[in-house]
Structure formats: structure tokens, C-alpha cells
């Protein structure tokens, strides 16, 4: 398991000890197309480091059904709700094709992070990078760059 964890982009620049600790909470997981990695409202006790395949992030909107707001793929992370109370998923994540990933037990990792501040800081730093990238992407999409901006 450690070999898989070590080479995932999320773990880049993490030290050996942190990789060991994260690996201790990790397991291999696969999802068939259409199956849910997590469902909105459920307990956020896991997060996923994607190794292959695509995952859609969606929210259910009354009258419109499930609306996909983003897709993520190999090298990306699904879920950070495991880090923040009340540890509840705020979206659905569904496999779009055959998905291979590393499932990490969030509760296990929280305990380790509390007792090992260097691991906690490393994890928060990594999650912050992911959050920042998603925030930047969201800002860009809010600009509606391809929208109908009449000029003449």
C-alpha cells in the first residue's frame, strides 16, 4: 500500500514518516462506472486519492436532478469534509468510468494528525493547495469567460 501512496501527487514532498502514517490508514479501492464514492449528507469518514478514471462531483437540485459541477481524475483528491466538523459530505462523487483509487480513513488520519503536529501541518498544507486550486478554478468559471459579452 505504501508504494501506491508514495507515488500519488498528493503525497509529493511529504516526508517518509508522514507517508508511513498516511499509508497506515489507506486501502486500495475500485469503483465501477456509475457507483458512488460518497453521497451528500453521508458521514465523511474517507477521502480518495484518484489513481485512474474520472469522478464527477455533483449536487442534487430539486427540479433539475443531479447537476455535475466538476469532474476530477487521476492525481486529484476527492473530499476534504473528513477534515472539518461535522465531517459530512456536501456533494455526491460518482465514478464516470472504472476508477482506481486509494481510500484513506479520515478518522484514523485525524487521530494521527492530532498527535503528530508535523503530519497535521503537512496534511493541511496539501489540502490547502487542493482547495486553492479548486477556488481559483471556480473564480475563473464565475467569470463566464465564454459567455455572451456583447461588444458592439
Amino acid at each position: 500500500m505504501r508504494d501506491l501512496v508514495e507515488v500519488h501527487p498528493f503525497m509529493t514532498s511529504m516526508n517518509e514518516e508522514s507517508i508511513e502514517l498516511v499509508s497506515g490508514c489507506a486501502r486500495n479501492a475500485v469503483f465501477a462506472p456509475g457507483s458512488l464514492l460518497c453521497a451528500e449528507g453521508g458521514d465523511a469518514d474517507t477521502f480518495y486519492l484518484l489513481r485512474r478514471g474520472q469522478v464527477s462531483i455533483s449536487v442534487h437540485i430539486p427540479g433539475r436532478g443531479s447537476v455535475v459541477i466538476e469532474t476530477v481524475g487521476a492525481g486529484d483528491v476527492v473530499g476534504w469534509s473528513w477534515l472539518v466538523p461535522p465531517y459530512r459530505w456536501t456533494f455526491d462523487a460518482r465514478a464516470m468510468d472504472d476508477v482506481g483509487c486509494i481510500a484513506i480513513d479520515g478518522a484514523c488520519l485525524r487521530v494521527k494528525a492530532l498527535t503528530d503536529p508535523s503530519l497535521g501541518f503537512a496534511l493541511l498544507s496539501k489540502v490547502s493547495v487542493t482547495l486553492l486550486e479548486r477556488l481559483q478554478a471556480t473564480r475563473m468559471r464565475l467569470l463566464d469567460l465564454y459567455g455572451d459579452h456583447r461588444v458592439q
Partner: protein, 298 residues
């Protein structure tokens, strides 16, 4: 490359000047009209009484809707295609008039103007560029790249470098040239699409076009890129490509300002020391251009 032209950008003070013939529109007839999306129309034009135009991929023409005005529109056909095509988005008075043209209507054409994507047909296989080419387009930005992609796919079929076409659009219905995208894919290009707003029937990628870069599969250290779309998109994409290891000198962007004369006389399309109608629209991202794109223009 087959050409000895380089990616360097000429300062406007030393670039050659146009002549009066460049200011005279040549009347063309609309011979075909293709509705690409709800607001993008492709016009296929033929000269009324003149030889067909020769041009290079990425250049533009000034199109006149008689009695309404004139705007700059890039060619969306490849030079070897045998037709002159322009794909126009209906965003203002002139573009609206052009989009409303019917088969048989007349439009004015001045050009071709400006720089190009440096994609040229190699007469012998040994001259084919072996590098990967990454083409990134946002929305209607695929139109000025369409001819270049066609040339690149042809070159790839003859042993040239691989072609990666990454396209972002607002929503699935705004993806242009779907038949071409399918054709390029079938002929060996890697084509990836993403949209900002997914519809229920869309089962593809959702997100920024930059998210397509990571798993596209190109070799960033031995490749070149051609970007066209909203400037912010091109900026972020260029930065992402540089972060992946691409040489900024190998990244070309297509810039647009208020092109009017087309020959560098009027100065309306100035960007810093450059006149984009003549020094552009296709320019290397490296150096001064990357700085100018982040500065507020006065």
C-alpha cells in the same frame, strides 16, 4: 520546422508597412452558410471577380457587412482546403449582420493580415516537425485554430509529431466543429473536451480547460503549444504549460484588439510596442507579451 521563420515578435517600428491595395475590399459571395451553434455561423466565401486568396493558418481578414461596418475575423479553413471560411460569433452590429448573411449575399474582404501559427505543409517527410503540438482552444477560439489543426493532423499522418486538441466551452451546445473534432480523433489526434456548465445529457469532463492538461499525455519538454480563446484562459493555460516544463518560447497565443486598418497604420490595435494587426494576432507568449497580458492598458 519546415520554415525558417522564427517565433520572434517583430517590433512594429521595423515591420513592413502595407499598401493602399490592402485597404480596398474585394467583393465575395457567400456560397455556403453553416450554423455552428445558436450564435456562431460559418460563412464560406468565394471571390466575385478575383483569384482565390492565399493565406496562412491563424491570419485574419477584415470582413465588411456593407452599410453596417467592418470587423476582423480569422480564417477558419486550412490553406489547402480550397475554400475561404470564416466562423463568426454574433456579438455586435457587424457580426450580427454577417451572421444573418444568406447564400448569394455579398460581403467585402480585405486581407489576409497578420502573423500565423507557423504551421506549414512540409513537402518532404524529413521536414516534418517531430514535436508534440498542444492546441488549446476556448469557445470560438477553436475557429482560428481549425486550419492549423487540420494541417497538423495531416502532418501527423505522414509521420510528424503528435497532436493534442484540448477544447473548453461554456456548455455542450457551444462546442464548435464537432464533425472536425470527431475526424481529428479518428485520424489519430487526442481530442479532449470540457465544459463549464454541464447539462443532463453531458457525460464528459466539467471544469476549466487547464484541467485537461495534466492527463493529456504529451511530452511538455519536447512540444509546442497554440492557444486561442479568452485572454485570461490563455494566460492561465500558458502558465500551466510552463509549470509542466514547456519552453515559453514554444507557446503561441492569438491576441485580439480593436483591429481596424489591418496594416499597422491606424494604431487602434496597439498592445504596448506592438500593433497586433501586423505584429500579431499570433505572438509568442514568452517575454514581453506575458508581461503585457497582466498589465492594465491605458
Amino acid at each position: 520546422m519546415s520554415s525558417d521563420r522564427t517565433l520572434s515578435m517583430r517590433p512594429s517600428s521595423v515591420a513592413p508597412r502595407g499598401n493602399l491595395n490592402d485597404l480596398t475590399p474585394i467583393v465575395h459571395r457567400v456560397v455556403e452558410r453553416i450554423g455552428e451553434t445558436n450564435d456562431i455561423t460559418t460563412l464560406v466565401l468565394e471571390p466575385l471577380d478575383a483569384p482565390s486568396m492565399t493565406f496562412r493558418c491563424g491570419q485574419f481578414n477584415m470582413l465588411s457587412a456593407f452599410g453596417v461596418g467592418e470587423i476582423a475575423i480569422s480564417m477558419s479553413s486550412a490553406p489547402g482546403e480550397g475554400t475561404l471560411r470564416h466562423s463568426i460569433r454574433d456579438v455586435g452590429a457587424v457580426s450580427h449582420a454577417l451572421c444573418q448573411s444568406r447564400v448569394g449575399d455579398l460581403v467585402g474582404v480585405r486581407g489576409p493580415f497578420g502573423s500565423d501559427w507557423l504551421v506549414e505543409s512540409a513537402s518532404v517527410e524529413a521536414d516534418l516537425d517531430p514535436r508534440d503540438t498542444i492546441v488549446v482552444a476556448g469557445g470560438i477560439g477553436l475557429a482560428p485554430l481549425r486550419g492549423a489543426v487540420e494541417e497538423l493532423v495531416r502532418a501527423n499522418e505522414r509521420g510528424g509529431g503528435r497532436v493534442f486538441v484540448l477544447v473548453g466551452a461554456r456548455e455542450p451546445s457551444q462546442i464548435v466543429f464537432r464533425a472536425d473534432l470527431d475526424s481529428w480523433r479518428a485520424r489519430g489526434a487526442k481530442v479532449s473536451l470540457t465544459v463549464d456548465l454541464a447539462t443532463p445529457e453531458w457525460d464528459g469532463r466539467v471544469g476549466l480547460v487547464t484541467t485537461l492538461l495534466a492527463d493529456a499525455g504529451f511530452d511538455a519538454t519536447n512540444s509546442r503549444a497554440m492557444l486561442c480563446g479568452p485572454e485570461v484562459m490563455m494566460r492561465f493555460t500558458a502558465r500551466a504549460l510552463v509549470d509542466l516544463g514547456m519552453d515559453p518560447e514554444g507557446i503561441l497565443v492569438s491576441l485580439e484588439r480593436n483591429m481596424q486598418c489591418g496594416v499597422g497604420w491606424c494604431g487602434h490595435c496597439q498592445l504596448g510596442p506592438f500593433l497586433l494587426c501586423r505584429d500579431g494576432p499570433v505572438v509568442p507568449y514568452a517575454g514581453l507579451v506575458s508581461q503585457l497580458l497582466t498589465q492594465r492598458e491605458r
